[in-house]
Structures are given as C-alpha cells and as structure tokens.
Amino acid sequence: MTGDDVRAEDEGATVSPWRGAAPELIIAAVLVAVTAVAGYAMAGWAGLAVVAVATAAIAMVVLRALLPPLTPDREKKAREKPVTSPAGLLAMRKSLEHVEVSPDLLDYIVAIVTATRKDPQVQVGASPRGGLALVQLARGQAVLKQRDYVVPDDIKQVAVPALAHRVTLRPELWVRQVSSDDVVAKLLSAVPTPKTDPAARASGRDQAQAVTG
C-alpha cells in the first residue's frame, strides 16, 4: 500500500516538469533528440549542417515558448479600472500645498541644498529648484505616511532621489566610482537637523515679555 503510494509519487515527480510546459518546449525536446540522431547518422559536413540549422530552429522555438505574450491580455485589460481621473491627479498634486512645513524644516532644506554647493567633491551643487523639489517630495512622503505635516525624516528619506541627479561631481571622482548618491547621503549625515527645543531662544524672549507685561 505504502509502496504503491511512494511509486505513484515518484512517477508524479518525474512527469511533473512536463505537465505545465508549453507544447513548444516538448516539440523542442523532440527536435533535439531527432537532431542528435540525424547528426550522428549522417556524420561529416552534412551532419554538422543539420545540427547547426536544427540548433538555430530549436533556439527560436524555445525563445518563443518562454516569452510572455507581447500583446496584453484583453480580458485583463478590461478588468483594470482607472485609479483616478486627470482632475483627480491635479487635485492630488494640489493637496500637497496643504501639508505643513515648519520654518525650521525649510531652514533644514536650505542647509542641505547649500551643503551640496559647498562640498569639495561637488563641481556644481543643487539649484533653488532642487530645494523646491525637496520640499514637495517631502510633503508627498508625509502624505504617504498619513501625516499633514512634514518631519525631518521625510526630508532625509527623499533627499537622495530629489537632489543626487541635480549635483555634478568633480570629474576626477567619476574615475573613483564615487556617485552623487553617495555624496548627498554623506551630506545628510552631517547637516544638523532642527534642534530639539524650538523655544531655546524664543522662550527666553517670551519670558522677558511676560515679565515686562
């Protein structure tokens, strides 16, 4: 009983590779066998020629069998529903303007952009548009994290994609395989994030006012 089961499983295992195979692959396998026999039988130049032609044909058959269909499946396309409309897309872009960026964080962004201009490895730093891109991307990141305000982490997370391609390194660094991604990442680990207590100075002033008031 158990022996039969094992044998049945064994058979299943030996057969299974062919079960899901495309018919083209089976044809290819047969062609390989026929070619080998024919090539062996004919020997000499004729045999070589048969093998060469057959090999090319087999390669073609296998390639076509393995390629995914070039035209998308019509049924699948019918099932794809649009996720938004053009107006929806514009509204989403507009919604970023409602994401709060505290003045401290704008300072932080300016400091990062400025750092790209001062770095000795950089020939041309990021432009003011780089800073703008960083603000908007950070806002997008905040929305993705379901917040309506930006935090320093948002800025750090998008700074490389926002700025690295806007920075031109000194030519000699190309040879040393230093990428602008590396340079921006290095700057991020050095530019100070906003200080913990925003009121360190402001509160002193407020207290003074409170005293005089």
Binding site: D153, T193, P198, S203
Partner: protein
C-alpha cells in the same frame, strides 16, 4: 485667551518631556548626533538596549506632532507624554539597578 495659553502649554510640556528623555538617553550613552532625527535617536537607543517597551516611542511620536505640526494639542496628550516619561524613567532606573 486662557484656552490658547493652555494649548501652548501642552505643546511646550510635551517638548519639555521629550527634552528630559533626550537628556537621560544622553547620560546613558545614546546622545543625539547633530544630524539625527528623533526616530533615528530612538532606533539607536533601542539597538543599544537602553530603552525597552513602548514608552520612548510614544513620547517620540507625541514630540513629532508637538514640534513639527500646528495641530492643537490638549491636556490628554500632555498627560500621555508625562506618563510615557514616568514609565521610561522607571524602566531606566531598573536597568540602571540591574547594571
């Protein structure tokens, strides 16, 4: 006017709680580097085994909102920050005793 002051007080109180946490983490060897974000500091404190439990994470989350948003913050959030700080202080005292 009083309500406004209370709101500002809650924000300032949450930030003060966080500053206290940052100071005690620094005393235990997890000082904030200049380029750290609060979450990065939290990760470092966790990795070095200084903080366990959720108190530090809760206080950090409250701090983020207090520091970088203009959301109105109320007494319940201020109390939550104070509770988290107490919890953290208690657990730090324990680990301190253990060492």
């Amino acid at each position: 006017m009083n309500t406004l002051r209370a709101l500002d007080d809650a924000r300032a109180a949450i930030i003060a709680c966080y500053v206290a946490m940052e100071n005690s983490l620094a005393e235990r060897g997890a000082a904030r580097a200049v380029a750290d974000t609060p979450d990065e500091l939290l990760t470092r404190a966790r990795e070095t085994g200084i903080t366990r439990g959720t108190a530090a994470a809760r206080l950090t989350a409250l701090f983020y909102e207090a520091r970088f948003s203009s959301h109105p913050l109320d007494r319940s959030q201020r109390d939550a920050a104070a509770r988290a700080l107490d919890e953290l202080a208690a657990s730090l005292a324990e680990t301190g005793a253990g060492v």
